[in-house]
Symmetry: C2
């Protein structure tokens, strides 16, 4: 596959020759995904620095029918931001669009370009005494444009919603290179169809997000961060109900973690030590927070005591300092990486109705015994949202690992489907789950998605091979 | 205009002859909107009782190219649910689809049909010890399908979001009569494009909502409801910032009301009396709430005392009983109706960035002096969302009232546009604001809306003349 003659040169005239990458070694990091499961071939990498340059290169690509793969932080877990193996796709990196354009604390809003890291958006909010609540393991390197394109989730969804819910407006370069300016910061605007919803979660297949206006929240002033040992997922779900019953929406995180993952994090994440006196088969990491200056820690202790008395908790601690709190979250966020030391990982980012989490874990273990008897489950995740990273450790020397991963995925997705769940809770579809999506979604859903794609990208310029 | 021969009979075979209305007197209530500003002519009214019947009549209409106007509670304020004057449009009433299909307290979700009144959805949630937070003046008669189709707002948006934000899934009859089942209750589901977003807020122009799965929340256990006299909108905005700074997202309502509206409600709404000792030019009705059993009232009193000491409040009361609280909210919700006693009303449902509310009021008064010197402003609304019902009282004997209303609307919308605001915060576009939308939205926005309409309703069967 080769690019149309003169295409690279015309792009260089727009973005400057230093920002058109073509050498094999330069392309490689842009063509390989985070877990190194998907290795594509990029024809070229373009690195525009602002919206006008993005618009110009998209117009060039449209004119030459060159397929583009928008990429922000390249931390996606489903291959949605890397090119396919054809060698004909061009990576459009948004990384240089990294300015926070405006912060409006009175309006609880900020405007950031697509290439801002999530951490830099959080920091800009904090500097204005506000909270931008999207928070996930890769926040230091993932970029907000990717978070929005993938509708990212993370640890605070139970209270603040997904990336979609945190977005007030978008600036988008359309498939023909025109710029749609939907960068409003209003809380209410019912003037026709809400066009930004099209682009949120569409993984760069309907338009290229270049900037976003984002919702800010009051900063919590007091937090109670609890780490609990429990006997089972069923008890964790019961505790979640009790926590929501007592604290309502003040519950800002409620994570379930299998013991193996805590142990892996304690062993492999620097500075993390086991925080309890007693071991347990499962752990819960939960946080409640409010804007008032005091009273929440005492309320959390009372809640904890009642749960201990009722025999729901095997052992518990409440973080006594910001350093202890940070360590607990470092442990949580280090799990994915630490678990790679255990063997070859098969990952399944699934969701079920919260009440069916225990059934998912039980029946998942049975599925595993049948499909991969040498493997074991290491589930962890956002049980408050019904979302588990239902991961599996396989022996590294498993024969024909890709085939086993595939069989396992099919069996897990069958199980999740039977429980009324979702085969992609927060990671998206990308290239990795496209076949599963098409095999499992009703034909009418796929038809409607196809109509949207045809309406917004009739030439198929944007991220072909992803989702539709 | 006449319907195709045999159309009414075929519809009667689907929904039963009792539910095909054709007599003039029967049609009239379905063809007139809430404020009796828009009087259309319905060719027929169809009253199906379930999704299958809706699908069958939409298929019939599509086959005969008969335009349909979906209607739920007929409480919309922009003529989006009533037919035009052509006499060729058929009203499709969803009122008989009024069952709550399922309530899942553990999953914080319920599934309700489009014709359920908002009050009945609230009641179903409450019976399961949960809160469905959408709340607005017409909640006893408006229906959830209409709330979702219009993306309704109301008094709790500052905390819980708009109708769109409260929706987990939809069941929709498409323009060709097929049923799209998107009734998921999962909190997280990133499996392709989020198709429900298309139909939310599209006012029945892209599909007919027949049922919805809705988010429930923990019920507040303690509330503090405050009624404050203040000297100006600027002070109200300052108090809003102080309230959010102290209580964060626990602020669940923050309404600004001009004195005239409070006086009208006191005079005309049964059982409402003026709750303060001292009069003020403006009032704030605010509420904070949480799930904990106690402590909030004391915190609210301390906040109130500090604001009084700082001279921000002229007089204040906190509701001392549920009855007092109910009276304050009855006052608020009675304003629209009570204000009709003052004269002929020109209504403008607008939003601006919160910080610009005072400027909107000041400059709006200047606009009024120029355009309609006999008129006076009676703004009230959801200042916490930057949303004012920027209404105007005109003398009843104003010559050529429609033309004055039109001039006033143009001038107010020009002002709002200049402040970076929205000409429809929560009421939508319907028929009433379609021309203004098309005159004011960028051409690219209108083009994209047109592409969506063409993708989902290529024959233009659904609610022609609304939005697009």
């Amino acid at each position: 596959v080769s690019l149309p003659p003169g295409f690279a040169e015309r792009c260089a005239a727009v973005v400057g020759p230093d920002h058109v990458l073509g050498a094999r070694a330069e392309l490689e990091p842009y063509a390989t995904d985070f877990w190194r499961h998907t290795r594509g071939e990029a024809a070229l990498v373009l690195r525009p620095r602002d919206t006008a340059e993005v618009a110009a290169v998209v117009a060039l690509a449209a004119g030459h029918r060159v397929p583009l793969v928008p990429q922000a932080g390249n931390t996606g877990l489903v291959g949605g931001g890397v090119p396919d193996a054809s060698g004909g796709q061009v990576v459009l990196s948004l990384a240089r669009l990294d300015r926070v354009r405006a912060v409006d604390p009175a309006g609880d809003a900020l405007v950031a370009e697509a290439g801002c890291t999530l951490a830099s958006v959080q920091a800009a909010a904090e500097a204005a005494d506000r909270l931008f609540p999207l928070s996930l393991g890769s926040e230091g390197t993932c970029r907000i444009g990717g978070n929005l394109a993938a509708n990212a989730g993370g640890i605070n969804v139970i209270r603040y919603g997904m990336a979609r819910d945190l977005c007030l407006g978008l600036e988008v370069v359309l498939a023909d290179g025109r710029v749609w300016n939907g960068l409003r910061t209003l809380r209410k605007d019912n003037t026709g169809y809400d066009l930004k919803q099209l682009f949120l979660g569409s993984e760069g297949t309907l338009g290229v997000v270049t900037a976003a206006s984002l919702r800010l929240f009051p900063r919590p002033r007091e937090r109670a961060t609890l780490f609990l040992g429990v006997d089972s997922p069923a008890t964790a779900v019961e505790l979640l109900g009790r926590a929501r019953g007592r604290f309502g929406e003040l519950v800002s995180a409620f994570e379930l973690i299998v013991a193996t993952c805590v142990e892996a994090a304690v062993e492999h994440v620097p500075g993390v030590r086991f925080p309890l006196a007693e071991k347990a088969p499962w752990y819960v990491l939960a946080e409640v927070a409010w804007s008032l200056p005091e009273g929440l820690e005492a309320a959390a202790d009372a809640w904890l005591e009642a749960a201990l008395e009722d025999g729901l908790i095997l052992d518990a601690t409440r973080a006594q300092s910001e350093a202890q709190r940070a360590m607990l979250w470092r442990m949580r966020e280090g799990i994915s990486e630490a678990a790679t030391r255990l063997g070859a990982i098969a990952r399944h980012d699934v969701a079920v109705p919260v009440a069916r989490i225990p059934e998912l874990v039980e029946r998942g273990a049975a599925v595993l015994r049948e499909v991969a008897p040498d493997a074991y489950l290491i589930p962890f995740g956002h049980v408050g949202d019904g979302n588990l990273h239902f991961n599996v450790v396989l022996p590294r020397d498993t024969a024909d690992l890709p085939a086993v991963r595939q069989r396992l995925q099919t069996a897990v997705f069958d199980l999740v489907g039977g429980l009324g769940g979702s085969i992609s809770a927060e990671h998206g579809i990308g290239r990795a789950k496209r076949a599963e999506l098409h095999a499992r979604k009703p034909a009418l859903d796929l038809e409607l998605m196809g109509r949207l794609k045809a309406a917004l990208d009739p030439e198929g310029i944007l991220n072909p091979g992803v989702i539709v």
